[in-house]
Symmetry: C2
Subunit: 515 residues, 2 copies
């Protein structure tokens, strides 16, 4: 309902409330009193002609320096969504709860939802009709025990349908995705040039790091531009058969980003949420053939083989129904991959592998070849089992490096690559013996504390890996930082736990899978 | 973790964010960048000496009119909780998630929680360690299908333990509570004077209306002061054996108010949440004997007898374990009780009953006598079945009115009682026949739209009730409003649905219980 008789002047309030829209009314505003609004109530703001609308939660302001009595304030994102100018007249009304909330209540009550229900919920989410509280209710009702795998399929389809969908106009569009959690695991930047050099289409878009010390987009950014508009992206992919871009520009499965903004602070990470998040993005990005990497290890996201196998089945079920050609590999996630952790350090490792430098980290090289090989076998002309050798040929012949250089040139080379942070601390072995454990979580924390990914030259450089023999005082890793305060925080963190364990025997043979 | 080297100047921001604490940092504040804070991240603000702390979610400000770069802003409630002065130096750090969130995750995963788990969750909620999203996750995980009745007991106990608890120093402290949803149902203001006149202790504290057109506190306020501090309350109860006060001054089961601030916008109202909310408040308020009224009807909160019976069992289970003497009555909730809907109109009905006015609404009188009678039978000296007659004697003899006058005088008479709103609209019967339905929800909506409870003289005055015969054009009810805009809104609402149904036969005999 809209009461056009009461109009307020729109005022952009310089407050960033992230994915939650906030509207501000002055305590002495007559509308506040007569309408019985309450702080945190949900309101809808309409343009006078009723053509533009935005939903927001209400905060009440008691300071005329922030806004006047006859104004209606909107936080930054809400202001942009409404698309009016400062000073335009607007109306405010109580927002009706989103209609799809009824389906959420049925889910809370234990009912199974239909495809239509998921579509209406996700459409309302994308249109910002859900508060973070309401999304939290939906996600918890759907988590773990609460959802059948058919429902997961419906959810994923709804997430695809409510955004844009790319079409590359070819029958085989390859993609890969790792579920994450392993520092330094920058295989994508090797797999893409190898696969593209083979001629297979692999238009790879990646995210920036959110909780990790570097994402593929952060690392690639040390070498080239990654924020490309869709036309530019198409042109590059058309010419080079691949790209390494940031995926944030296209509106692919926009519900995913919104739901993640609630899942992350709540630490909700059920297998179902992971599957729908990854597969909706990939289908929206136009992938037809997809390789999923599930690292498993004691400090990885997935800690037991049984869980990895169950997750694989869920990926296969939803992927098959979505019409994807999907393969899942379960890999070793016992320790970081490569040496560097942090954008510039990881880019250094990648380039060494591409250059066939004898000093390149062999685990990163091996894992990338294995994954690239599996993707190459999507090609009907590559004989089963020959993918690995084909990938190795492409790498060793220098064709992967040439392709990477072409992609960098096409995206726009970074002419001012970051230097490694000049504040350096060496963390040494507290006793002699063998490295028996490297904790992925602690190494990621130290690298982040040192400034990664925001400070691109900051992070951790591993000199020892599991199984290496060390003498007391040998350097295990170096911390690089750009700013003194970050440096101190990272060093302080190592005093609690250096992230390495030294034993008197080499680690027992792993029961986890090979790379 | 706290980094004392970075200090900011505390600044009270005049924004009311209700039960959610918000901290504000300027975009250009160096702490924002180096610490990797994100909008909506949870932060802890500490005094320099580390003795005072408050938790909040972060908003990022990009306007120097709102706050300076070297300041840390806090919303009104957060500022008060921290208890420092404007300009004092403070430190900010990432807040660790509340430890009890681990138990919430176990609940989401389908585990049964222990008494300790509920205590740690509720303690963190009361200390404002939970965001609204996190509370939403907890409430959904605990709702309907998710909770065993033992867990409901633990939750209720935790809500009692984490607040103050009143002790009246007597073995029989009576209380009553209606689960709500029936407009005009102001029996409490009759039950209290009857029971207190009998000599039984009934220190009644009530809430103000939140979603209804009037709460007992709102209605009593038209006659007397209701915001009494605890000492004054004790003094009145000691002298008069009863009171009719607002319950917001004591810190009784404070978790309840916080959880309700999330349950209400989410429309979460599972039976478990209702039971824990009501019983925790009553036990904290020192009640030993409690009568619960569950109205049931097609537009009441509880719509089927089966649901009412199940709810009764849940009240009995938890109440018995808490050591309460608890009785539940299931009453007729097919239509509003009495005639007035809105504070002044409901007070008028109450006074008419107390005055034994022949024109007093007989349904309100009968229901109040029935409830008072049940409470009087808590007295071992009242013979089983004699409660009603005893209550009627007290009412008819004028002793109830005398007691009400004494309570009003003790609390402080309102010397300027509100007049009925002077803008009046009569809603008439669209056809001749019998009133077959009166919709509780629609009548409450119309009364609220007219301005109740904020405008105390506004509301709805019912002239016809179910079963009454009407001619076309007969007045069904009057709308009273104080302000023209409210008046228009209420009238507009009646054009969609007047809330009455007229049939050509009297309504069939009800299968719902009597009053």
């Amino acid at each position: 309902m809209n009461w056009p008789e009461i109009q307020l002047k729109l005022h952009r309030i310089g407050i960033d409330t992230y994915k939650e829209n906030v509207a501000y009314l002055h305590l002495d505003c007559p509308v506040y009193r007569t309408e019985g609004f309450q702080a945190l109530a949900k309101v809808e703001i309409n343009s006078v002609d009723d053509h533009q609308q935005v939903l927001a939660v209400l905060n009440i302001v008691n300071d005329k320096n922030i806004m006047a009595i006859d104004e209606l304030g909107l936080s930054e994102q809400a202001f942009e969504q409404l698309g009016l100018a400062d000073g335009d007249m607007v109306c405010i009304a109580h927002a009706l709860p989103p209609e799809s909330l009824d389906a959420v209540h049925r889910k809370i009550a234990g009912e199974r939802l239909h495809a239509d229900d998921f579509l209406s919920i996700i459409r309302d989410v994308v249109e910002n009709r859900y508060s973070r509280m309401e999304m939290s209710a939906f996600l918890v009702a759907c988590s773990e025990s609460g959802m059948e795998r058919e429902e997961l399929l419906y959810l994923t389809e709804a997430m695809v349908k409510t955004g844009e969908q790319l079409d590359w106009g070819e029958p085989l569009v390859a993609d890969k995705h790792c579920i994450g959690g392993i520092p330094g695991n920058r295989t994508t930047m090797l797999v893409v040039p190898i696969v593209a050099a083979h001629g297979m289409l692999i238009p790879k878009t990646s995210s920036r790091a959110i909780t990790s010390p570097a994402g593929t987009a952060d690392t690639m950014q040390t070498l080239a531009r990654v924020d490309l508009d869709l036309n530019k992206l198409r042109e590059i992919v058309h010419r080079e058969r691949g790209c390494l871009a940031w995926g944030g520009t296209a509106r692919l499965a926009p519900a995913d980003d919104i739901l993640i903004s609630v899942e992350r602070p709540l630490s909700l990470d059920s297998p179902g949420q992971m599957v729908s998040s990854i597969l909706s993005k990939k289908v929206a990005a136009g992938a037809t053939h997809l390789l999923i990497d599930i690292p498993v290890g004691p400090t990885a996201k997935v800690r037991h083989m049984n869980d990895a196998l169950r997750l694989r089945k869920l990926f296969e079920y939803v992927g098959d129904r979505l019409g994807l050609h999907l393969e899942v590999v379960i890999t070793n996630g016992e320790q970081p991959i490569g040496r560097g952790i942090g954008p510039a350090l990881e880019a250094r490792d990648v380039i060494k592998v591409l250059e066939n430098d004898p000093d390149a980290p062999s685990d990163l090289r091996e894992k990338a070849l294995r994954l690239a090989g599996r993707i190459l076998e999507f090609d009907p002309d590559v004989r089963g089992g020959q993918g690995y050798a084909t990938a190795r040929d492409i790498l060793e012949s220098g064709r992967a490096m040439a392709k990477m250089q072409a992609i960098i040139a096409a995206q726009g080379m970074n002419t001012d690559p970051p230097k490694l942070g000049e504040l350096v601390m060496e963390i040494t072995a507290p006793e002699s013996g063998f490295v028996t454990e490297i904790n992925n979580l602690q190494m990621a924390r130290i690298a982040r504390m040192a400034g990664a990914p925001m400070d691109m030259g900051s992070g951790v450089d591993l000199l020892k890996k599991m199984g290496d023999q060390v003498e007391v005082g040998d350097t295990l890793y170096r911390i690089h930082a750009e700013f003194p305060s970050d440096f101190d925080f990272a060093v302080t963190l190592t005093r609690k736990d250096i992230g390495f364990r030294i034993g008197d025997k080499p680690p027992a043979p792993s029961y986890f899978p090979p790379l």
